[in-house]
């Protein structure tokens, strides 16, 4: 079966003052109908840029190569008008809330109704009904009165729900959620995740959930793709990856998560930061931060390879990972940092 979304060898480059920046470098991802794929990585790993590219919303001056097939048709070579028409009923995106993501001078009801009416036709009144229905569905209280309110009259969590209502109003087949819970406090975050999970099972849509928080994905995603410096470094079913990460970066991300069953322990952060993406990286981009790194890692770039069914890693030492790092007092795999468990 052809996947719903099939990204092959996607590269995205931006011209900057420091030279060409490779934001995304040969990424391949597949999402099946109804599947929930989590895309994880820290800021600058290329995950949001990838999401925007699928939606066709990337700012003009990026050089994009590769293929982004949606139900077999390549979005990158498609006529822009046709592609735009897919947004809404086929592809939809939930953006991270900020004051500027919703139009500040239009009531939220109208913003949703406008999209409904464009894609489905019908009367203004019917579109407004649908908008109210969607806002009710995502849990906005007192919908009748609040459809006529402006974005600034809602709380951050409510605005995030409104953005979800806007994305879902035309029942898309694929929902791309770009850090929709990042700005929210933990209880609201859990509510939003629960909401998307519920709506997903009701509507049967596929979801790409972009986040830097592996924890959010645990109960939500079917599979996970971990991105680092514009490349996918590990991918596989969510349980497999949580139980046995096969890339030191994934392992580091998991270690940096607070755990309820290990309260009081120190959290470990991955030392260092992302490499300069305007400079060529001959070997593995993670090697400067990696405790497993060998000379080989700095000379040759490891490609993503399958280590077991459906589970792939871009690490030369993927097979050794489950056994743990051999004790080496000079080079600890992870260094404890002063972050107390919350």
């Amino acid at each position: 079966m052809t996947p719903l979304l099939d990204i092959t060898d996607l590269s995205i480059r931006f011209r900057t003052d420091d030279g060409e920046l490779r934001a995304v470098d040969g990424v391949s991802l597949q999402v099946a109908e109804g599947e929930v794929l989590g895309v994880v990585g820290e800021s600058g790993s290329g995950k949001s840029v990838t999401a925007l590219t699928v939606m066709g919303l990337l700012a003009g001056d990026a050089a994009v190569t590769g293929q982004v097939r949606y139900r077999g048709a390549d979005l990158l070579t498609m006529d822009p008008t046709k592609r735009r028409a897919l947004c809404g009923p086929e592809l939809a995106m939930v953006y991270q809330d900020s004051m500027a993501v919703l139009n500040p001078t239009m009531t939220v009801g109208r913003q949703i109704a406008m999209v409904v009416r464009h894609h489905r036709g019908g009367t203004k009144k019917a579109a407004m009904e649908r908008a109210a229905e969607m806002l009710d569905l995502v849990g906005i209280p007192d919908v009748r009165a609040r459809v006529a309110d402006y974005p600034h009259q809602f709380s951050g969590g409510q605005r995030q729900r409104i953005l979800i209502a806007l994305a879902l109003c035309c029942e898309p087949r694929l929902l791309i959620a770009d850090e929709p819970t990042t700005a929210l406090d933990v209880t609201v975050q859990a509510q939003i995740v629960e909401l998307v999970r519920k709506l997903r099972s009701e509507l049967g849509m596929a979801v790409v959930w972009v986040t830097h928080d592996l924890g959010v994905l645990a109960g939500l995603a079917d599979s996970v793709a971990v991105m680092y410096a514009g490349r996918v470094v590990e991918r596989g079913p969510v349980d497999t990856i949580y139980a046995g990460p096969r890339h030191p970066y994934t392992e580091g991300l998991l270690r940096s998560l607070p755990r309820l069953d290990a309260a009081g322990e120190r959290l470990t952060a991955i030392p260092g930061g992302l490499p300069d993406l305007t400079q060529p990286i001959p070997g593995c981009a993670f090697s400067p931060r990696c405790g497993w790194s060998t000379e080989h890692c700095t000379e040759e770039r490891p490609d993503l390879h399958e280590i077991e069914t459906l589970h792939a890693s871009a690490c030369f030492r993927a097979a050794e990972l489950p056994a743990g790092l051999p004790a080496d007092p000079d080079e600890p795999a992870v260094r404890p940092v002063e972050v107390m468990h919350r």
Partner: protein, 327 residues
């Protein structure tokens, strides 16, 4: 936003305007007195047959020999009771003299403002949505030229080309004095007479408003909510016009409304070039004669217009932007 809040806001702003207008009245009164010459300057010249006694009698009649403070309060008292004095020149009451000239100026400025806004929005939005294209550069260049062209020169050039060379449009006045038009023909005739004056008067405001619309629109086009609208599958036209324009309009409306007193001022030059019987020309004529009551009347009306435009701009701002509350 309740109507009550808006009403309360407007009332409070009007009250605040009272001391401001009083201050302005003092300044214009004093400044006029400080200008060299005076209403009797022509009579005081050597080659006239007006005797010094006659001049003294006239000065006494108009109260010009009273102390300045007395003159000011006499005038202010009159203004507040509806008697703005009489023209030194014609003896007509000031309000009547101005009232007779207002319709022409009003017509000129309102037409110029509406036209400026229309052209600026169309050109500005078009240029912004095709930023750095040929059209955009052409629009930016044209508005730059428009801003730097003196209106008296532009007016004379238009007269030269359209009236004297091409003989397409009338050169002066508001109506064709040789033909007595009635009904629709009269309207057409007047419209024909207004084309060149409106073009001259709008030049500056079109140019500056176009730049405002363009930069405001470019700013809005980069906002995340336009990306949201695009990502919802709305066509670009809808995105720009329905989501973008209302937001881009907010700062532009302020500038456009504040252009009203500027246009009013511009009418002084335009009406003089094209011989239109408006308030602007009345001002120039009265200035020549040092006709203090008329000058004061026009200046005071201009001051009120500035205050009212500011208030209007603020109220409109609040109506367009739901995030603004009147405090």
């Amino acid at each position: 936003m309740g109507h009550r809040a808006v009403t309360a806001y407007v009332i409070r702003r009007c009250l605040q305007a009272i001391p401001l207008l009083l201050g302005i009245s003092v300044i214009i009164f004093v400044l006029l007195q400080m200008t060299p010459g005076g209403p009797m300057a022509a009579g005081e010249g050597a080659a006239t047959q007006v005797s010094p006694e006659q001049i003294a009698r006239l000065r006494g009649r108009y109260g010009l020999d009273d102390p300045l403070v007395v003159q000011y309060f006499n005038w202010l008292g009159g203004v507040l009771t509806g008697d703005w004095g009489s023209s030194f020149d014609t003896g007509r009451p000031v309000l009547e003299a101005i009232g007779a000239r207002v319709p022409v100026t009003l017509q000129l400025t309102v037409v110029a403002l509406v036209l400026s806004v229309l052209i600026a929005v169309v050109v500005g939005v078009f240029a912004a949505s095709r930023q750095n294209s040929l059209v955009d550069h052409a629009a930016t260049g044209a508005s730059f030229i428009g801003l730097s062209t003196p209106s008296f020169w532009f007016g004379i050039m238009l007269l030269y080309v359209f009236s004297f060379q091409l003989r397409l449009l009338p050169s002066s006045g508001l109506t064709d004095l040789r033909a007595r038009h009635t009904g629709f023909a009269a309207v057409l005739d007047q419209a024909e007479h207004l084309i060149l004056p409106v073009a001259v008067l709008s030049l500056m405001s079109v140019a500056s408003l176009t730049r405002y619309v363009r930069s405001s629109m470019i700013d809005v086009l980069g906002q995340d909510y336009l990306r949201t609208a695009r990502g919802s599958g709305l066509p670009e036209r809808t995105v720009v016009l329905r989501h973008g324009l209302p937001n881009a309009a907010i700062p532009v409306v302020t500038v456009a409304v504040l252009a009203l007193p500027e246009l009013f001022l511009g009418a002084v030059i335009t009406e003089t070039i094209f011989g239109l019987p408006g308030m602007g020309r009345l001002f120039v004529e009265s200035a020549d004669l040092r006709d203090y009551p008329v000058l004061l009347g026009i200046l005071l009306i201009a001051a009120v217009l500035v205050v009212v435009s500011n208030l209007l701009a603020d109220v409109l701002y609040g109506r367009l932007d739901p995030r603004i509350t009147y405090v």
